[in-house]
């Protein structure tokens, strides 16, 4: 009974009801889009970082900090037997040293990264390094990323000087041949990084068998002499950035919800003002104020339900289309975000369900708050249209 009356009243509102539904539906679509895009961004960044740098975590030389380049040389050591026993699919040994590159005879400080050629845990475009032997011949083969190549004006086949220090602190310099310019995906392993064979870097720096860290697929428990850094710790800066982004998105989400609620709230106030004679008549005929409130609230709830339907009708095709084209974030390629140029939303059903539940709840509340004053309405005044002025 209540439902039928509410339905009839709702449809009678015409354009006002339609606009409410449309605003709410568009807000729902925006909300889902925003959340899914952030999810997609995080998922893709995590995937790229894990595939190119982090793996399942690092066993690092104690005290090694990638943000303290002047101390890298003090934190290298030989891996424990338990790490060496891991297969090449499950580990990647990495040695990092400071260096100075001289493209066009200009100084360019770089991070020299040596990685074992047998490893297959990390996905890096270093195949051309495998063409060279363990012993360094006249020239050292090296690979740089696209970003590094662009910044330092390097291209495949360039020969330039690389300077570094050996373990004792003696300075050394040799010519390096850029054997490839690879798409590194992750700027952290691209910008300012020169990739060498691990055996070459070890022999250049007199650090036989030493590493700065060993990236592993899975945590294998405590290892003597090494400290383990989990994926979350290695991505802490990115995760905190995304956390901040989510916090910021909540502000936008709140603004959207305020708009939706204001729209519903406004409609309800207008409804009870215009329909006070109808309310007075229903009360005079003996309808309880609580029932009248329920009817009006149901009208608001109907707006929420229709908004869900319209959001599904407009949103699903949009989301399907967008999943195909993705979101171009070319502008981020100059930043340190480990992301490709197009990101794709990641839709989380549970997250969408809870978001919709919150939207429906807020709309129902926005529909209920203005009509609850009906309980205090004087039917005689309402019949004369003077109860609410």
């Amino acid at each position: 009974m209540n439902w039928d009356i509410a339905k009839k009243n709702f449809y009678r509102q015409g354009m006002r009801a339609f606009l409410n539904v449309l605003v709410t539906a568009l807000s729902i679509i925006s909300l889902i889009f925003m959340l899914s895009l952030l999810n997609g961004f995080q998922a893709q960044a995590t995937r790229n970082l894990v595939a190119t740098d982090v793996g399942g975590g690092h066993y690092r030389a104690p005290g090694f900090d990638i943000l303290s380049p002047t101390e890298w040389e003090d934190h290298t050591l030989k891996p424990d037997e338990s790490l060496l026993r891991l297969s090449n699919e499950d580990k990647a040994e990495v040695l990092i040293q400071q260096g100075q590159l001289y493209p066009n005879r200009r100084l360019y400080p770089v991070q020299i990264r040596g990685i074992s050629m047998e490893q297959s845990l990390l996905s890096l475009p270093l195949d051309n390094l495998k063409l060279y032997g363990e012993q360094i011949e006249d020239i050292i083969p090296g690979v740089v990323g696209v970003k590094m190549a662009r910044k330092a004006h390097l291209k495949k086949g360039d020969i330039l000087t690389l300077k570094w220090r050996d373990k004792s602190g003696a300075v050394d310099a040799r010519d390096i041949l850029i054997v490839d310019v690879g798409d590194m995906v992750n700027p952290r392993v691209d910008d300012g990084v020169v990739w060498l064979r691990l055996d070459h870097l070890r022999s250049m720096t007199d650090r036989q068998g030493e590493v700065s860290w060993v990236a592993v697929r899975n945590y294998i428990g405590p290892v003597k002499g090494f400290e383990f850094q989990a994926v979350e710790a290695l991505m802490a800066d990115l995760l905190s950035l995304l956390k901040q982004d989510r916090r910021n998105s909540k502000i936008l989400w709140t603004i959207l919800m305020i708009l939706v609620c204001t729209s519903v709230f406004n409609t309800q106030i207008l409804n009870i003002f215009k329909r006070q004679k109808e309310i007075g008549t229903l009360m005079a005929l003996g309808m309880e104020p609580m029932r009248i409130i329920r009817i009006f609230t149901l009208e608001g709830a109907l707006a929420a339900i229709w908004a869900l339907v319209v959001a599904a009708l407009l949103g699903i095709p949009f989301f399907i289309w967008f999943q195909g084209v993705g979101f171009d974030v070319t502008h981020l390629s100059e930043s340190s975000f480990p992301i490709r140029e197009i990101i794709y939303p990641d839709y989380q059903p549970k997250e969408i369900f809870y978001s919709l539940l919150i939207v429906v709840f807020l709309v129902v509340m926005a529909a209920w708050i203005p009509v609850k004053k009906i309980i205090r309405l004087d039917p005689t005044l309402a019949l004369r249209g003077r109860a609410i002025t």
Binding site: D74, R106, L107, K163, R165, G169, A170, V171, R174
Partner: protein
Amino acid sequence: MIFKNSLIIFAAYLVLCFASVTSVMAEEIDAQKLLEQLDDNLWANKKFISGRLIIDNGRKIRTLTQDSWMEGATRSYSHYKSPAREKGTKMLKIGGKLWMYTPRTDRKILIAGHLLRQSMMGSDLSYEDMMEDHKLSQAYAATLDRFEEFEGVRCAVLQLQAHDKKTTYQTRKAWINPTNKIVLKEERFAKSGKILKRILYKDYKKIDDRLFPHTMVFKDMLKENTKTTYKFDVIDFDVEIPARYFSQSILKR
């Protein structure tokens, strides 16, 4: 005919004499001793230098003026007087440590370890180069490589090999005038043998009983169009240096 033959024999005799003198000269030079004599000439117990550091990075030339007080090879104190940006900057070297004070931050910083390898104020010298605290004859074993004409002077080219594998430059070459025991040119090499730095010592003048260069030109051979010239306007040997100059308390405004 007899006269002609005598002339040929005499000429041959002269050539032989000259050749034997030259070879005796080459053989008689004790490279290590020459290096020690060079050090004795350059290193005074106490000295004061007022000079200019002219840094040419290929695009811009900056001139820094400084006063330096040095005691042996291990202690020195420098005070920068200009330009305005560097005015009041002080550097104190004691043994293997270097402190730097900048009036803008009003803080002293210990430049140690890897920081010493950074370029000093954008010049072709690193802090490490600047605070070199060992005599060449103590850090390197010298061998005579060859004789070579350099700027009209017949120089003994000494090949220097570091005793310690921790020495920054494992090999050097020095062009030394064996007559007056002065160095005219020096080259510093990487372990691989690649040339890294070239230093020219110019404008030698006699101060007291020493011959001292008044201009040193440092060139980073890996860079293009850059050089750093160190010009000494005033040099005084065996000066009295107040004790506070070699104390950290000097590092303040």
